[in-house]
Each structure stands twice: as C-alpha cells, then as structure tokens.
Symmetry: C2
Subunit: 343 residues, 2 copies
C-alpha cells in the first residue's frame, strides 16, 4: 500500500501522534497521546474528528492504555482497559464508528480473560487497533480506485464538507477517488464547498488537497449551484453518514441542495462511503433521525457574533438526499447503480 | 402612509441621518451626513447599501450639497453640485439605481440653468431627492400590499439575503409583504438564510425583523433546502437585481439553489422588486453578466482566515434563476404570473 496523502493519526508504539485539527488551516500541530484520557479529550474537543477517524483513535486509545498496564495483575489490567473503553465511548455518543470500534476492542479484552495474561492481551488489543486502522486504509484505497475510474483527464470535481483523509486514516471516502486519480496522473481540479457552519470544506478539505498538491478552489455553499449550472463541474463526490437500503442517504447539511442542482444540470452525483455506513435496518431516508446542533455554531463565527442578540438560529447537522438524485454509490465492495437494493 | 418599519435614512433638512449598517447587528449607530463627500464615503464603505437605498442616499447627498452653495453665484453653485454628482456616481459604478437617481438630479440641475437661481434650484433638487425617497416608500408599500395577500395566517416565509427595509427607504421589496402582513395581524414567522459571504441575512434581515417584532430564525444557506423539503416553509420571497424580459432574474448568490429546492418541494417562490429592475433590453437570463467579487470575502470571516494560505476562492456575487422556477413576480405595478412577458 502506498503512503496515504495525509496522516491524521500515526501509531508510534505505546503512543500515538495526531494532527490537532482544531488548529487547521492556520497551523499543522502534532500532538502525542500516551494515555486513554488524552485520547478521550482529543475526541471530545474535536482535535480528531470524522466518524472513521474517531473509531480508529478510540481503538488506539484502548491499545495504548492496555500497554500501560500490561505488567499489572489481570484484575487491575482489565479494570483499567474497561474503564478506558467506557470513557472513550462517552465522548461522542452519536458517532456510530466509535461504538463499533470499541465493541471490537471489548471482544478482544473478553477473549483474553480466559488466559488472564495482561501482556498477551495488550498485544492482541494493539493488533486489533492496527487492524481497524489498516482496514480503513484498505477501504479508502478501494473506494479511491473505483471512483478514480469515473474521473476523466481535465475534470473538475465538486465536493461538500470533508470526507477526506483527515476524516479517516488518510485516504478518505469522497476524496479518495481524487487522490487515486491524481496519483495516476489524471489532471483534475476540485471545488470545495466551504460547508457552513463549521467550515470543514474551507478549513480541512482545502488544507489536505493543497497538502497533496491538488488544485482546489473554495466557494460558499450557495455558490455550488451556480458552479453546477454553469458547466464548471464534471462530477460530484460526497460522503455519507448513513445510507438507507433504498439508497436514500444522510450527509452533512447542504448535500441535498447540491444533489438537486447536480440533477437539474445533468452532472453525475456519486456517494462514497464504507459499507458499514449502510443501515440495513432502515428502508428509506425519512426514517433517519437528523441531529440538531447548537445554534451558536451559526450565530457566532471565529468568536464574533453575526446574528443579533435575541435572534435564534436553527442548526440541523444533516439532511437526507433521496436515492433518485444519486448516480451511484461507491463502497469498498464496488459501485452500485440504481435501483439501489443494498445492504 | 404609515411609518416605515425601519428608517435607514432620514432627511433632516440640510443634512441626513443614516444607520451605519457596518455596525449592525452589534450596534445601531446613527451618523449625520452634511456634505456630499460624506455621502460618497458612506456609500463607498457600505455604511449605506442596497441598490434602492444607494440611489436615495446619492440623491439626498446632491440636495445637501446644493443647499450648502445656495447663496453662491450660479457658476460656483453649478460646479459644486455637478462635482458632487460625479463623485457620488464613482462610488459604486455597478449599482443601476445610483446612476438612475443621479440622472434625475442632473436633469433638475440642467433645468435650473435657464433661471440661474441657486436658491430656487437647490429647492428643486431637495424636492426631487425627497420625491425619489417617497416613490421608494410607495413602491415598498405597494409591493407589500400585493405580496401580503399571498401570506396566510400561520405561514412561515423563507427569504435570502436582505431585500428589506435596510436596503431601501424602509419597507424593502421581498420583506415588504412580511411587514404588511404583520401590520394586518397575520401571524407569521420568517426563516432568514444567513447569506454568505457577507451575511446580509444573518446581520441585516434578522436585525430589522427583530426590530419590527417579527419572529425570525437564521439558518445557514445550505440548510434552506432541508427547511423546504421538510415542510417548514410555506412561501419564499426574494428580491432581484435584474429581471430579463422572459422572467429569468439575477439575485444574490444562492437564490437559484433556493428556487430549485422550492420547485422540487412544491413551495411557491416569488420575486419582489421595483419595476425599474426589469431590463427590457435583455431577453433571457444568460445575457445578464455576473459580478465576481474579491475571494477574500470568502476566505476571511470576521478578521480570521478560514481557508489555508495559498488556496484561492471563487466569489460570484449573483446567480441566475430561470423563469420556470418562478411562481410570480411582484412589482409596484402588480403581480405577474408565467409565462412572463414583462417590460
């Protein structure tokens, strides 16, 4: 496997180095985490963010904590590791990948109980955390290879939010096809929606594409529609937070509007996400709950209040895009085209 | 005529009081302008903004300057007033209402030359400036009355940017129906798109509606689509910067995306603008030029750079909405429904 284009997280053996994403794009700050409480802080404060990356970081946090207590008696070891799992899980209760990764670590801890060897179990926990990390790299590469086949020389790709390397182990989902196409020598440009309110597109997608030497232009979210209508965009790639069995999907607020404009202007619109994003228990998008976040994310930008005191803001974090606006869904298992019957 | 809901500009007799819109919403600062150079500064620095208001302010600036020189010989008077017209016109070369208002003032100055009485001509210039102001109030009231008939009790209105009182003499265009409906006792709420990059919705529309005691909620531009899809919006009103004969129109960037979502979800979408916005010389929207503004408006928010250094931003200020997405166009002359053959 090639080196990923960015390294938001790196296993150092007994500790982990992360990019503190709160400082991007002004500064690339690296922080070393060496106990579970530091991982929990990093996740809680959004120093690491992005559903896949949160899962990886939590698993590595458990492995680091296990290493710290590997010379202790089993009871102490087990209690410390179990507590780390609980503390990490409490950081971001809504992130699916977080509990998924921690359940995997918990199963390894449970399996170690029969032998009651802290050192051996700590080794197995480290193996599992690195397996989760490498599986994510594989997933990103596979999505990237499939998606890159859709990108022709000279294409301009539009994307919304950050479903890039910084949200994962390093390749991303929606951005992975861009990296693979670039590495194949395909000439391309990216238009990144700034993605209000938290500006993940302006801050993170722009940063990692510039870092990889890929041409990127930021636009206000509301300008994406003009870009699509005026022939400046050849293909759209977005990520997904949850995909229903019929292909309807939830993603960062604004994705639905982009899909409508792509559809109205004949621009292909692709969703790229790990297959774990597919929720087979949900048939249609209207069953996906939408998280409402604090209105202050809208009313205050960079410390300055931009909305009058006493005026409220609504801040839905996601919207639902109906399957009939989706040209194709890319997972590590392949490219699905409508009618979607996935999961 | 009732008092307008806000007073962004007031004739004091020999001077003019404005609200400095750069300080909104944090502070309501009133500034008195008493010579043409101060008016030019106010327009250039966006202390007053909004196409109709710029025209009114420029006309009043000419009238104030004329008053200052009313006791001088005709040649001095004429030179000073002509220079004020030239200086005011140079402030915002693309604003149509600015040159339209200044041409009217120029014609009054020209008509005064035969009599060569500075005092009488200064009086006529004051009359003309106040006529432009009152015509705008009348226009806003008329649009408001027509539009208010479309707002039923309990409605939620969505609007984009600020086509409100602060952009005009006090009633606005797209917001005028809201004010009139409110004054009739119709219960209603407004959702204001924040309108990146300059946040006129968050800063100005929210401020003036709160000031008028009307319920308002701010959303990120990208959340408008979810609001429209989820049944939270009953009707959309937007302004226009230029309307082609076939009903295609230019308005603040993002308007086209709102129109697409309104159309896809069966929400009526109305354009409200003075009839002077109709450009009979342009048949279709694709002939309307789109102003590209400085990318720094996107990359830097409230003094903080949010896009990595070295990454560019595109910043189109307007987009074109095709007539087939427009339910109706309201001007002071009436409500036009498709097929539009206006002008």
């Amino acid at each position: 496997m090639r080196e990923p284009p960015v390294k938001p997280i790196e296993w150092l053996g007994g500790s982990v180095r992360i990019i503190d994403q709160r400082d991007l794009p002004q500064a690339e700050t690296h922080v070393v985490l060496s106990e579970a409480a530091e991982f929990a802080d990093a996740i809680r404060t959004l120093a690491v963010r992005g559903a896949p990356l949160i899962g990886i970081a939590a698993a590595m946090g458990v492995a680091v904590e296990a290493g710290r207590w590997a010379a202790s008696p089993w009871d102490v070891f087990e209690a410390k590791v179990a507590r780390a799992i609980g503390d990490l899980e409490a950081t971001r209760p809504t992130a699916v990948n977080l509990s998924w990764a921690l359940r995997r670590m918990e199963r390894v801890l449970d399996a170690g109980r029969a032998r009651a060897s802290p050192a051996k179990t700590a080794g197995s926990l480290e193996d599992e955390a690195l397996r989760i990390y490498r599986e994510d790299l594989d997933m990103g590469c596979r999505i990237g290879e499939i998606g890159a086949d859709l990108i022709e020389d000279g294409f301009t790709v539009l994307t919304h939010c950050n479903a890039g390397g910084l949200a994962t182990s390093g390749y991303g989902t929606a951005i992975a096809p861009v990296y693979v196409a670039h590495s194949r020598g395909t000439r391309l440009s990216v238009i990144a929606d700034e993605t209000r309110p938290l500006l993940q597109g302006a801050r993170l997608t722009a940063w990692e594409l510039k870092h990889a030497g890929i041409d990127v232009t930021v636009v206000c979210d509301s300008a994406a529609h003009l870009m699509l209508a005026s022939g400046k965009v050849d293909i759209v790639f977005v990520g997904a937070d949850r995909i229903a069995s019929n292909g309807d999907f939830a993603n960062k607020i604004g994705t639905y509007g982009v899909a409508l404009s792509a559809g109205a202007n004949g621009v292909p619109f692709y969703v790229a996400a790990p297959s774990s994003t597919i929720d087979v228990g949900i048939m249609t998008g209207d069953r996906i709950p939408i998280e409402e976040r604090d209105g202050e994310e809208v009313t205050t930008i960079a410390g300055t209040r931009v909305v009058p005191e006493g005026v409220k803001a609504a801040n839905p974090a996601f919207d639902i895009t109906p399957a009939d606006l989706v040209t194709g869904i890319i997972t590590e298992r392949g490219l699905f085209r409508p009618p979607f019957e996935i999961g």
